[in-house]
């Protein structure tokens, strides 16, 4: 059996080698992320059978939890690792040609480390380790957002940094408090002893951690950095940030709420928060004329939707939420990737300047269309099964509040449809404005986009493929007791 720690160690090691590779030959460095992510992907696939039998616990340094740090590679963690690897692979292929200026080697290093950070967050079973990986994720994304070095990039990056640092400080305070209360940092260990402590005391650290992670997860009041950062970063980075970074943040929130604290009292509030996030995100996106900003706000909306799905906390909705994770990664990734070249071509991010692109860049426009249809949740694309599961589960669970919230969720879908279809129409059905460069999407980008499109279609047509796995991932997320049992 292969050891899951390789998922982290190998890309990290590869990233460390890039400075030297860059010194020797400049052109190889851009293939390093591809290699790293390909490796991870293969590894994830090979790990699937083992993980489905039971979670794999990696005791780092050979110390028994809770004394050492452990990785908890359950279906959920593996799901995220695989998702990150897959999306990371596709986007790194896209970056091969998309990123052409600036310190390229550094871009690729940071890119790998961002993904390593995300993978680490998904796999770790230790609170402080989670914090460290979060910081890897955050700091590399600060740097990548500002990669282009333009006004917008820097401004958004600085704002992101300040908010992100405040967030991680809050997280650290929360972790410190938990350590003070429990004397341990292991998630399973804390989960085991949560019941023995006065619940009132636990609330404050929980809120601190929720606030801190919420910044990364872009939950409503903490998400002000997102539209700036996602819209100003290079498109490939926007794709990663939207498709992976915030989702990992949300995963961490879910881990806290479900596994570590195991409190069900807060679920209704979280569902409400999710719908609020969804509402705010979609409404802001609706009012945008800048395409990347629109996509960024739409990410907020999707995060809200997933938070809602997770907070309803029935098996079906959590599965649906996880499905929506996949869909969002692929679709939003596809949208950002195609938007990247559309923007290159038109020279502007205004939606009005994208008019008539359908004729000039057929493949890229098609990719954008598929992405938006999928995100809105139209069959036969990948967005539909997720949305269907969420609605089905929420209605099955019942309760007036949940049903009303479900209604709101669907209203937001309509709003979402309205602004996405507007862009699709602009691409195909409005008279084009000539101008901009005559550039077509190069082969690497085309490969990436076609790959994502095929994934979206395949998942939409045959959701069973993912659903079986996601169902065990969902029970992994919700089964705190099993988690504790398997770690300790």
């Amino acid at each position: 059996m292969v050891n899951p720690v390789l998922l982290l160690a190998v890309p990290m090691g590869l990233a460390f080698t890039v400075p030297v590779i860059e010194r020797i030959t400049g052109r190889v460095s851009r293939w390093v992320p591809v290699a790293a992510m390909l490796f991870n992907l293969v590894l994830c696939v090979r790990l699937i059978p083992a993980v489905l039998e039971g979670p794999v616990i990696v005791q780092l340094g050979g110390f028994v939890p809770p004394f050492g740090i452990n990785l908890y590679v359950g279906p959920l963690g593996l799901f995220f690792a695989g998702l990150i690897a897959l999306a990371g692979l596709v986007i790194s292929v896209y970056s091969l040609t998309y990123i052409r200026t600036g310190p390229l080697a550094r871009y690729h290093m940071l890119y790998i480390l961002l993904l390593v950070g995300a993978t680490g967050v998904a796999l770790t079973g230790d609170l402080f380790n989670l914090f460290v990986f979060f910081e890897i994720l955050c700091i590399s994304s600060y740097a990548l957002v500002a990669y282009n070095g333009d006004r917008a990039g820097l401004e958004s990056s600085v704002k992101y940094l300040i908010q992100g640092s405040v967030g991680s400080s809050m997280l650290l305070v929360g972790i410190g408090m938990l350590y003070g209360i429990f004397g341990t940092l292991n998630m399973a260990d804390i989960a085991r002893s949560v019941g023995m402590v006065d619940q009132g005391v636990l609330f404050v650290p929980l809120i601190f951690m929720l606030g801190g992670l919420g910044v990364e997860a872009a939950i409503f009041p903490m998400n002000a950095w997102l539209p700036d950062a996602h819209s100003s970063a290079p498109s490939s980075i926007s794709a990663v940030l939207s498709g992976i970074a915030i989702e990992v943040g949300l995963y961490a929130v879910a881990r806290m709420v479900f596994t570590v604290f195991g409190i069900s009292d807060l679920f209704l509030f979280l569902a409400f928060l999710g719908v609020l996030t969804l509402l705010i995100g979609e409404m802001c996106a609706f009012a945008q004329s800048n395409i990347k900003r629109m996509l960024a706000y739409s990410s907020i909306g999707q995060i809200g939707l997933i938070l809602f799905a997770l907070a309803v906390a029935s098996g079906v909705t959590v599965t649906g939420g996880l499905f929506q994770f996949v869909n969002h990664t692929f679709s939003k990734g596809l949208l950002f990737l195609s938007a990247g070249y559309l923007i290159y071509r038109s020279g502007s991010m205004e939606i009005s300047s994208l008019q008539g692109m359908g004729r000039r860049m057929p493949l890229t426009s098609l990719a954008f269309t598929v992405g938006s249809f999928s995100l809105v949740g139209l069959p036969p694309f990948a967005g539909f099964p997720g949305k269907f599961l969420i609605v089905r589960g929420a209605l099955e669970r019942g309760g007036t509040v949940i049903v009303v919230l479900t209604g709101l969720v669907l209203l937001c879908t309509i709003l979402e449809g309205a602004y996405f279809f507007r862009v699709v129409q602009a691409l195909y059905f409005r008279e084009g404005i000539s101008g901009g460069s005559g550039e077509r999407a190069p082969a690497a980008a085309a490969v990436a986009m076609i790959l994502l499109m095929m994934l979206i279609l395949a998942l939409g047509a045959y959701p069973q493929f993912a659903e079986t796995f996601l169902r065990s991932a969902a029970s992994d997320l919700m089964g705190a007791v099993e988690h504790v049992g398997s770690v300790l």
Binding site: M12, G13, P19, F63, I69, L110, S140, A143, Y147, G149
Partner: protein, 228 residues
């Protein structure tokens, strides 16, 4: 208005903190982990400095992450500052002779001290990060003294790569050599308190020390207006 709101927010935060800390009295730490580490740290990792045994033993993986964070920062800062338009060459006043001479004189001593700190990380207070920081301060001094001297880029790159790879490869070696766990301490632990003890810990600390030194130097370098 804004001030009042801020104060109110902070006050509520403080109130929340107070409710928690009532249950966590100062000085009354009774962590199972802490006592376990103090009792077993030497046997488990071979390091006399229990903090080191935690940093590189029990929580070695954190440290790998930490190294990575610093690496990310150095790389990111480089990307950030190099990517932009070259800053206009600033007119730099030549350093005074006292500074120049002093820095030349002190630089090897500082390097030596830094090396001492990270080599003895498992025995005394200190370690790779601290040592690295000291080394970087030495370079800072050099930069102050003679404005145009820089750390060689090729050197820097190799040390960065080498340090990081050492850490990772040692971890991977642990995977295959002993215990089947990443970062297992597969070398003989030796007698706690001696220089050659604690297995892989000193090796890692040396790697970290060099790497951190180079990276922090790189950070200083970048912030001073990188030349590349």
């Amino acid at each position: 208005m804004r001030v009042l709101l801020s104060l109110a927010v902070v006050a509520v935060l403080a109130a929340g903190i107070v409710t928690v800390l009532r249950d966590v009295p100062f000085g009354g730490n009774s962590s199972r982990l802490g006592s376990h580490f103090v009792e077993n740290g030497r046997e488990d990792t071979g390091a006399a400095n229990i903090v080191t045994s935690v940093v590189l033993g029990y929580r070695g993986f954190d440290t790998l992450g930490e190294v990575t964070v610093l690496f990310v920062a150095a790389v990111g800062l480089g990307a950030l500052l190099v990517a932009g338009e070259k800053n206009a060459p600033r007119k730099l006043e030549k350093a005074s002779m006292v500074l120049t001479t002093g820095s030349r004189f002190l630089f090897p001593l500082i390097l030596l001290f830094g090396a001492y700190i990270f080599i003895h990380g498992h025995l005394t207070p200190g370690g790779g990060f601290q040592g690295g920081a000291i080394i970087a301060s030495g370079y800072l001094l050099v930069y102050l003294g003679s404005r145009d001297r820089r750390l060689g880029k090729n050197w820097a790159a190799s040390i960065e790569t080498g340090g990081g790879l050492t850490f990772v490869l040692l971890g991977l070696a642990g995977l295959t050599a002993a215990g089947h766990w990443f970062l297992s301490n597969f070398l003989p632990l030796g007698v706690p308190g001696q220089l050659l003890s604690a297995g892989i810990i000193p090796i890692i600390y040396v790697a970290i020390g060099l790497k951190v030194g180079v990276e922090l130097t790189g950070v200083i370098d970048s912030l001073m207006g990188g030349t590349e």
